[in-house]
Assembly symmetry: D2
Homo-oligomer: 437 residues x 4
Amino acid sequence: MVPRYSRPAMTAIWTPEARLRIWFEIEAHATQALADLGVVPASAAQALWDWWRTEPAIDVEAIDAIEAVTKHDVIAFLTWVAEQVGDEARFMHQGMTSSDVLDTTLAVQLARAADILLADLDALLAVLERRAMEHKYTPTIGRSHGIHAEPVTFGLKLAQAHAEFARNHERLVHARADIATCAISGAVGTFANIDPRVEAHVAEKMELAVEPVSTQVIPRDRHAMFFATLGVIASSIERLATEVRHLQRTEVLEAEEYFSPGQKGSSAMPHKRNPVLTENLTGLARMVRGYVTPALENVALWHERDISHSSVERYVGPDATITLDFALARLTGVMDKLVIYPERMQKNLDRMGGLVHSQRVLLALTQAGVSREDAYRLVQRNAMKVWESDGRLSLLDLLKADPDVTAALPPAEIEARFDLGYHFKHVDTIFARVFGS
Amino acid sequence: MVPRYSRPAMTAIWTPEARLRIWFEIEAHATQALADLGVVPASAAQALWDWWRTEPAIDVEAIDAIEAVTKHDVIAFLTWVAEQVGDEARFMHQGMTSSDVLDTTLAVQLARAADILLADLDALLAVLERRAMEHKYTPTIGRSHGIHAEPVTFGLKLAQAHAEFARNHERLVHARADIATCAISGAVGTFANIDPRVEAHVAEKMELAVEPVSTQVIPRDRHAMFFATLGVIASSIERLATEVRHLQRTEVLEAEEYFSPGQKGSSAMPHKRNPVLTENLTGLARMVRGYVTPALENVALWHERDISHSSVERYVGPDATITLDFALARLTGVMDKLVIYPERMQKNLDRMGGLVHSQRVLLALTQAGVSREDAYRLVQRNAMKVWESDGRLSLLDLLKADPDVTAALPPAEIEARFDLGYHFKHVDTIFARVFGS
Amino acid sequence: MVPRYSRPAMTAIWTPEARLRIWFEIEAHATQALADLGVVPASAAQALWDWWRTEPAIDVEAIDAIEAVTKHDVIAFLTWVAEQVGDEARFMHQGMTSSDVLDTTLAVQLARAADILLADLDALLAVLERRAMEHKYTPTIGRSHGIHAEPVTFGLKLAQAHAEFARNHERLVHARADIATCAISGAVGTFANIDPRVEAHVAEKMELAVEPVSTQVIPRDRHAMFFATLGVIASSIERLATEVRHLQRTEVLEAEEYFSPGQKGSSAMPHKRNPVLTENLTGLARMVRGYVTPALENVALWHERDISHSSVERYVGPDATITLDFALARLTGVMDKLVIYPERMQKNLDRMGGLVHSQRVLLALTQAGVSREDAYRLVQRNAMKVWESDGRLSLLDLLKADPDVTAALPPAEIEARFDLGYHFKHVDTIFARVFGS
Amino acid sequence: MVPRYSRPAMTAIWTPEARLRIWFEIEAHATQALADLGVVPASAAQALWDWWRTEPAIDVEAIDAIEAVTKHDVIAFLTWVAEQVGDEARFMHQGMTSSDVLDTTLAVQLARAADILLADLDALLAVLERRAMEHKYTPTIGRSHGIHAEPVTFGLKLAQAHAEFARNHERLVHARADIATCAISGAVGTFANIDPRVEAHVAEKMELAVEPVSTQVIPRDRHAMFFATLGVIASSIERLATEVRHLQRTEVLEAEEYFSPGQKGSSAMPHKRNPVLTENLTGLARMVRGYVTPALENVALWHERDISHSSVERYVGPDATITLDFALARLTGVMDKLVIYPERMQKNLDRMGGLVHSQRVLLALTQAGVSREDAYRLVQRNAMKVWESDGRLSLLDLLKADPDVTAALPPAEIEARFDLGYHFKHVDTIFARVFGS
């Protein structure tokens, strides 16, 4: 975890104290279920909850000190709780194995992390929708291969991003369901020493599904799918970040990350405003993607379990979720405040002197009776002049001044082919698909 | 694509001819829709379908020869079709861009590949269920960290695998939906020169969803999610393959890949039967996982598109699906014919001389009134002898011969703690969760 | 292997016949050594080499047919050779294990592949040096974050690429040494049934080093290092390809991939020349990188060996080397024919109206006695006008027309600060470092 | 960074204070060089070094507070130093750009990290050599595919590991050289405002090579190679860790991680000692490998630089080196104290009842004049009995009791074929190759 790329709410999920609080809740709910089943005295569960209602602080250091002796984290925790609660606490954990607590806790943490990420996506989607609506009809050049192609609107670009992140939202809902399961099934998952009803009770209370079959541990294909999904979301972040970086290039400059006055890069060179946030997002995306493969390698544990997954999860659990949360929030901020330059978009659009419309003129000439060969020659000879002028000449002007062209197509007819609206007639249809009617 | 790791049905999806056949269908459906909209003559669509009904072969070499001149694959194809169909074919492709055909074709190919993979998973699930039912109550030792823990049944191991692959089936259904979309939206996705109703018609005919917003290309987060899902499935294959490899180890030998008589490794050494299929599957899993990251890196195309994704997809499209198809089928074969040795499982289970039951004896002694300290000492002194004997001595025998133990717990009571059935009382519950009641 | 991304010489290394020819050479050299040691008759080696000198074709199909029966590739090969050579061939392979042949063959193949890649790098380096010399002093704007920074020369960009690929050359020399080892050590690497002198002889003849300690197989950390090195080279290809893609953008257009006349993208739109080769290289780089992780996962084979690495190597052996060979050659072609536009570079350099020189003016004013605050204000007020004009105004013109500026610094002195040569005074030093004096 | 997987010396390299101390040294050496060149007053350098000799603490918090205002880390640092040193400090950093300091600092950090890792490898190599010598002739079964093959010695296994880590040592020496370069070349690497001799001086003082051509930043192919090399080393760690995990399996138990008495897993079940350290190492290896791809993706920065690499390096710089350092030290500890059970190795070796010697008997019978078919039948009928007895019967006993066998081969001759020494006659040769004579 890199502090500068973290936000408090997500980080809070991964603190030792937060983890221990979830441990307690799982143990207390399990004790309650055992009491309801008559396995342990009702007073045992009562004592635990009574203590919990006093909102006790968790003394992480004291527990660490016990662990230094017992060399076992769960036993250390149970020992410390027993010291606080008293004799009744000895009924805790009966029939359970450490993994019951550890894996169910990880499920709670990842589910909570997913909730924050889903909220992050909601915030991003809201911003993208607002900016898309603002620029629904702002003309800009569409580029394939970095080369001018045909006009689009800036709103369409944002609608595209919205659709992509809406898909990511749906994927994350699936991935959340995949990891939000509870296993309280004992040493090798057979429930030999604990009734499956305990698992059902804890699952319900912790808002998790019941793990249908566990082996001491919750199977790691679930976690692999979760982290793979984060990797896809990160890649979408990289895509939008890359778009902003391109738009902010000196020669393009159709949009810029917001710079507060004090933030100016270079005092003497007013142009030196760098897209550092989106470059940063590009790097963060690489990291979140980098966590996918270790998570995939975690799946093939040996037999009923080995513990090789654990060290991996101590890194990728916090690192992938904290980094992605930060990145989504940063991207939302960038898009929210993105400074958009419609005039510059128009200027770039005009840069080719109207060449983007040449095909429509060609077609109109053909339809007006000019042979395809002649039409092509007429358009081409004017288009080449425009191209060689590097945007100083206008195709429309040249065509209107070419008597061979106007002989077939009156100037008004030519002009009609230079209408951007022609390209935008279905923008509304697309917006309806993306944002609903 | 490595021929020895491929199967015909999946490979057939990726042949040049199969690809061109889908191209034709998309073009012909689009022409039909254009005809219905009055944009092109109805006779144009009619001519295409009339020709198609003659079940013509696609002359890949002829088309390649045209491409060598035109340097454009779609134009080469259209030219060849026009040569076959005649003048009416000139209305094909009107208002479309090459990517409309290419990306929608890839969607069809991936959807068909997903269908095969889903059928592969169905076949694997059926085998796993059958074998799980066979060995529902076959006792075997559960192992954590490779070390004997407590008894499970072999059926439980297979139920676990079944649940994991059932999850993978569900994930692949989602992933298939993600990539099965149709885009016929023109040069930069604005429908400037083609009506969205054409897209809707082609989508319906090709059994795809409509891509809500495209940019010339279908967004690559869809494909990234698809290949990431294949990576998760591959990791599950590795897990089950690793289990078989462990079980076949000389010292364990609880199960073996089926060897036909002629296949025997070494004539003089009858033990030399190697788990080569599951080792092979382990390697294939690495490859399928290896395709995840390139697919993730494909997401961030520049602006409305660049073509960097294309070369990646020429590898991973066929390679990931063909390899995974082969691996699933091979795994299904391995599990179908897996030679299972219940006697050896029992022997390994007995290897610890009953130490796995020591905790239940300890508890019984305590409940019979022995202090926890004494109970521990009594069990431990016998357990150590068993351990030092390397499985030659039996804990049950020693306990029954220890007067301090029998003074508190009569032999029949001791024996009752050595009951495997105690561990298996919830097997039925777990099977009901996995396989339904 | 994707045929369109392959070249014949590299592909030839990976054909079945090429592989079998290396097999024969290894077996024949080993038989020679065994004969020299008196283990087998001298006539056995003689017979093999006599046959080989007839330059026999290898009948791959016949050998495959034998393998279909024996289910063992090396035995099938030996059987076929015996059929050709006669009775003397029965002394072949004595004391050897299949892996001795297979792993040493892979070493030969990878070493030959490395030689082609090294030659590819040499060719690329020669082109980069030639183009760097051509444009040693061609001014162009240096960009950080995609934003204009200070002037560089186009030759410097190419020198940078040269230095990077020279490093890659050195890395590949190391990586080649890593995989070019010979193991002829028998079933578990103990030389129980074969003398180490056989290994030494084969190693010398096949131009390999002796593997100091093998386990039946050559350890896979060697191959992991090799493929990781290819991944680094691929990343460097991506870097240079990305530079070209940026330079070819419509708004930048400082360089272009060479387009033959017939290749023109769009007839009516002369600007539509897409950097498809470098985009393709970007995708190919992703693939070569994707092979690194499977190769790393291949290292941890079980005990003396398992065969999980083999399937991975059937993919990545050919795919990584063939793809990288193709990519290096394509990049060399791109750089060789790259169309470079110095005028456009100058135009882009001037785009900021001379703002890149503002800092030097600021310093000169200070040195001429103006207070830092005043100097800053004087420069800034002119710089802002230039910036707001989007490059139409010139900072030099404005400064020379600003009486407060000229009062401190005469026009000639101002002009002296707009000298590009100031930035290029150490180009020669850098070139000497990169290309030698 | 995960604190439990870190060691102080490596962690110390990556603290903010350590980083700032390197910053100062670079700035001060640069100032010295500038003074020597007459660009700044000699007193400026003197003042810096005078202050440094007072061994001042670096007040990270104060510098952070300044950065919160200036939004620039290097400026904040320079400001703070100026506050401490006084007016002379204003000459620091003249002509330099922030990256000159940042990238050279990273080079120093990575070089120091490499030195620790090289020392770690030395320690591991020493332990491996010592244990290999101890068990040079300890017989153990060699296993291919997890199946018994032929005898090896435990020392050979360790020699193999030694050779592998010796290769890793050499690779890391190369990788260290790759990243240990100094760039002090100004805004876009042209030395426009700083003399190359400053770079040369700083390089020498910081024990780095001069970066031949930089672009503001040091090219990231260097770092990619470095982290890829760490990924290879991690994979070798996984290999040896996996070997130990296999050896510690209940059914194999030829070696065990050392367990201190208090560490016993389960009180009642003395066998429950889990190979948790090597399982942990397996997970840590996955993480270090996971950092390779982000480092490879960092290579293709845009033009003269973008800053996307920076966030990646804030993770992988510390995380990869700290994790690998910890893992190497842990592995060294495991191997140092590994509890090795030669008796159990012998027992496992005998498990097959001598089947591993069957081939030598077969050969001896043939050489004694028995036809190959008869010899095969004689060996096979005894071997099958041994195999079916699951190791209770001995092949040697059966052969000596088979009159058809003894008719051809006297018992003493049979016994001679069961000599393990036959397999170990070249152990000395191999050891000489690995450890020198």
